[in-house]
């Protein structure tokens, strides 16, 4: 499932879709909120830094575990130093531990690739307990 991200109302739509998918997968409501928040953080970054991109949502399985995968992809300017971007206090969220590093801590899996000048792709997964 793809949700194009262009403005703040698209962020809400992506959260909605993510929550529905998590619900289908049988996540408890607190975990649905976790997935929605992760989508918020990633989609907001697209709006703020890349202007345009998309959120791709799908159910995944691994060794009998079921989970949800969120991919945030954009073709924006990219991140010059990913290591730096993953440090607390780098983004606008300051040192509170929100943004990309906060998303990493909320989810089970976190992968980020960014080519400077070619855009950014963040993949996160949350597994059912």
């Amino acid at each position: 499932m793809r949700v194009p991200i262009d403005c703040d109302s698209d962020v809400v739509a992506a959260r909605q879709k993510g929550r529905e998918l998590a619900s289908q997968c049988g996540f408890p409501s607190t975990d649905m909120a976790v997935v929605a928040t992760a989508i918020s953080e990633l989609a907001r970054n697209i709006v703020r830094y890349a202007v345009r991109g998309e959120i791709i949502l799908r159910l995944v399985q691994n060794n009998g575990k079921r989970g949800i995968e969120v991919v945030a992809a954009d073709d924006g300017p990219g991140i010059p130093d990913v290591g730096l971007a993953m440090q607390d206090g780098y983004s606008t969220s300051g040192g509170l531990g929100l943004g990309l590093p906060g998303t990493r801590r909320l989810m089970d899996d976190f992968e980020i690739t960014s080519d400077f000048g070619k855009g950014t792709k963040v993949t996160v997964r949350r597994w059912r307990r």
């Binding site: 909605q16 909120a33 929605a36 928040t37 969220s93 531990g97 929100l98 906060g102 801590r105």
Partner: protein, 443 residues
């Protein structure tokens, strides 16, 4: 509730009401954003619970049916979860930071625990706050015997005034250069220790002293051995110089007299040839005397370093054409090993200048200031690259290593200021007795 919290509570109640009324995901996004903002404003989780409680009470007042009441409760619980997630993220960050801190702390602790140097902290009232296991290995004391106690009794009585002085200076924020103190071991022996000390600060206030002490017994022993070796060599040189000058000189004098006797009995042509031989003998005698003085100038033993240096400078000047100025004075007589070491160092330095520096002038100055003797040897030659030369050993090391070792053996230090094409300056410092005593030092 303060005004900002009241505004938040109002917004929260309104958004919750809208969510109950069916606004859906956008309301949950707002809950999340309120949580983010509250976290940034320093609002606590407990405040959030209070705000949720008020908002829920307000929402329940509008409820008419049992179904409405249970759906309101469900909505409110989803709403609070959403608004608390930013707090959760921040909480996880704290956990991660704490774990990293713990790991870093453990890493430092293992460095401190395995260090062979003594690492210690002192409080601002002179008590020992902490010490690493190295203290036990070096001194034989158990740490529990000393932690919480005054540090001064651990210092050799002679060194205590100086230790107290340095301690006070560090508490005032100074960082003293390396210093040495005797440390009392449990066995009753005194261990020579080399110390560094820095202020220990907390919240930009000095709360004590952090120190590291190294057992330099081995180094002291090596220095002593080197000193003895130098002294033995000097004795040997003295003996050879004496043999050349006095014994060989006397033999030559006897030969002179004998030849003069024979010459009287010979016919004139043969006597003239013998006379030529006596001229050669004179030259040999002159060279022997010269060699003997170079080896060990009696002037050093008889008159001391100042006159000996002038004599040396004069000799080198005549031989090489260098203009050598000797200024200042080393003051009253120094212990023989120190005088010898300094004489040899100047000799070696002048040899360097002659061989390598392409200089025209050399300036030598010695000054004595209380317990420190300072010497400067400066030339106007080509200079050199200090690190490059110092790493070369032996003959190509310009003998600087030898100079440094000689100085160390008498407790002194060498500083070399040299730049390619801009001359060389050797600065020697040697700790000596204060110069104000009446009597000369024992010879």
């Amino acid at each position: 509730m303060n005004p900002e919290l009241r505004d938040l509570a109002k917004q929260y109640a309104r958004a919750l009401q809208e969510y109950v009324a069916g606004r859906g995901e956008a309301a949950l996004q707002e809950a999340c954003d309120m949580g983010r903002k509250a976290l940034g404003d320093g609002v606590g989780v407990h405040d959030m619970a209070a705000i949720q409680h008020r908002a829920l009470l307000k929402a329940l007042m509008r409820v008419r049916t049992r179904e409405e009441s249970s759906s309101t409760l469900r909505a409110a619980s989803r709403f609070i979860v959403e608004s608390l997630l930013p707090f959760e993220m921040s909480h996880r960050r704290s956990q991660e930071v704490n774990a990293a801190l713990r790991e870093s702390e453990e890493r430092y602790r293992s460095v401190v625990d395995t260090a062979r140097d003594i690492i210690f902290t002192l409080s601002s009232d002179g008590k020992i706050m902490s010490m690493n296991p190295g203290f036990e290995t070096v001194t034989g004391w158990s740490r529990t015997e000393w932690i919480g106690k005054d540090f001064l009794p651990l210092v050799h009585p002679d060194d205590r005034p100086r230790a107290a002085e340095i301690y006070q200076a560090v508490l005032k924020g100074q960082v003293p250069p390396l210093f040495e103190l005797g440390v009392r071991a449990k066995s009753g022996f005194t261990i020579p220790g080399e110390f560094v000390a820095t202020p220990l600060a907390r919240d930009s206030q000095i709360v004590g002293v952090l120190g590291v002490a190294r057992d330099i017994t081995d180094r002291k022993r090596a220095e002593r051995a080197l000193r003895h070796l130098n002294e033995a060599l000097e004795e040997e040189v003295k003996r050879i110089a004496h043999a050349l000058h006095d014994e060989a000189g006397q033999l030559l004098a006897s030969v002179h007299i004998g030849l003069a006797d024979i010459a009287r009995d010979l016919p004139a042509p043969a006597a003239r040839r013998l006379e030529d031989m006596r001229g050669l003998l004179d030259k040999i005698e002159e060279q022997l005397r010269h060699l003997s003085h170079e080896l060990r100038p009696t002037i050093l033993d008889d008159l001391g370093l100042g006159p000996a240096l002038e004599f040396l400078a004069d000799g080198v000047s005549k031989r090489t054409g260098l203009q050598i100025t000797v200024e200042g004075s080393p003051g009253k007589r120094l212990p023989a090993p120190t005088e010898t070491a300094l004489y040899r160092i100047v000799q070696e330095a002048l040899t360097n200048v002659t061989k390598h520096a392409q200089a025209t002038r050399v300036y030598i100055k010695f000054m004595r200031n209380r317990r420190l003797l300072r010497g400067v040897i400066r030339d106007d030659g080509v200079g050199f690259d200090v690190p490059a030369v110092l790493t070369r050993r032996g003959a190509r090391g310009l003998g600087l290593t030898g100079i440094r070792e000689r100085l160390h053996a008498v407790g002194g230090n060498l500083e070399i200021i040299a730049t390619p094409r801009a001359g060389t300056q050797l600065i020697l410092t040697v700790p000596v007795e204060a110069d104000n005593a009446e009597s000369d030092s024992p010879r």
